[in-house]
């Protein structure tokens, strides 16, 4: 028996469904794969910095441990907890969208933004201390000891990697602002909430980058 291909009539098509997709499921799958392709380029972008870090840490192991001691472990640990919590609120926002609870969705998105801002605030405090202690690479870098140049290299990696991570957080908070606005205007439903999932993927990716940055920058040579 030949398979009967049935076309959707216009009234059956969801308002959010673009004309070149068969159905919402196919459209969502395409969005997810597209986002993962973008995240792959992000893995390679941060991967380059992690590889550079690995090379120089293997060469200057003592100096990197020495530099790590000048980082604020308490603030770094609090920020790790803040970021993991923001990942939880993000995934709870996705859940709220799936079950169609608009107020919870807006609430969790705002909470995620707030935690992101707390992270950036604590990062600003840390950066300010580094400026006050003359630990920022460049002409103002002042460090006594035989490994001064190598410690400066450690701080170049510290500012480069955490700076790029912070930039991603700022972009993420911008994306969340758009989502809050759209969710507030009731643009999402249990049938269509792909943008929330896609921004969620981005947010969790940024969390994963920090999961690796934290032990590599803050926790070396502590014993």
């Amino acid at each position: 028996m030949p398979m009967v291909l049935r076309r959707c009539t216009l009234s059956e098509r969801h308002a959010a469904l673009a004309p070149h997709f068969d159905d919402i499921a196919q459209q969502s799958e395409a969005s997810h794969l597209g986002m993962w392709v973008f995240l792959l380029t992000e893995i390679m972008f941060f991967g380059g910095m992690f590889t550079g870090y690995a090379v120089y840490r293997s060469v200057y192991a003592v100096a990197f441990a020495e530099g790590s001691h000048h980082l604020d472990l308490v603030l770094g640990s609090i920020n790790t907890v803040v970021l993991i919590s923001s990942s939880l609120t993000m995934v709870l926002a996705v859940h709220a969208a799936q079950v169609g609870q608009r107020q919870l969705l807006v609430g969790f998105l705002l909470l995620t933004m707030l935690l992101g801002l707390v992270f950036l605030g604590l990062k600003t405090v840390e950066y300010t201390h580094k400026f006050a202690d003359h630990l920022v690479p460049g002409s103002g870098f002042l460090y006594a000891g035989p490994h001064a140049r190598q410690v400066q290299l450690f701080f170049s990696f510290y500012f480069g990697m955490t700076g790029m991570h912070a930039l991603h957080m700022i972009i993420g908070i911008g994306l969340l602002t758009v989502l809050v606005w759209l969710a507030w205007r009731n643009r999402f439903s249990p049938m269509y909430y792909t943008p929330i999932e896609i921004v969620g993927l981005y947010w969790h990716f940024v969390d994963i980058v920090w999961i690796f940055l934290f032990p590599l920058l803050y926790l070396i040579g502590r014993h």
Binding site: W36, L40, P215
Partner: protein, 100 residues
């Protein structure tokens, strides 16, 4: 897309596990394990945390096989970048080079 909805209980459990692993990695950093072991343990915990985030928070566990291939390819390339580079730098001292 009306896809598989994961129970919130699972998210809470993953969250608590992530917090516990964070405490563990901080605690272990203060204990000298000798040699490269501290770094290896710290990175193993970080990989475990990243896997939890990807599988549960990023819903890779419930994603299509094609998504799994995309994710796998990303980490395969990262592994190539790290392993080929480090196999050079970490083995340079094995061979004494007297002159270039």
């Amino acid at each position: 897309m009306a896809q598989h909805i994961v129970s919130r209980q699972i998210y809470y459990r993953v969250f608590v596990t992530l917090l516990a692993l964070t405490l563990l990695t901080i605690g272990i950093a203060f204990i000298g394990l000798g040699g490269y072991l501290n770094t290896i343990v710290a990175m193993t915990i970080a990989v475990g945390k990243a896997l939890l985030v990807m599988l549960f928070f990023m819903h890779v566990r419930d994603s299509s096989r094609l998504t799994w291939v995309f994710v796998g390819v990303g980490f395969f390339w990262l592994a190539l970048l790290l392993s080929l580079t480090m196999s050079d730098y970490l083995t340079r001292s094995w061979v004494a080079v007297t002159a270039w």
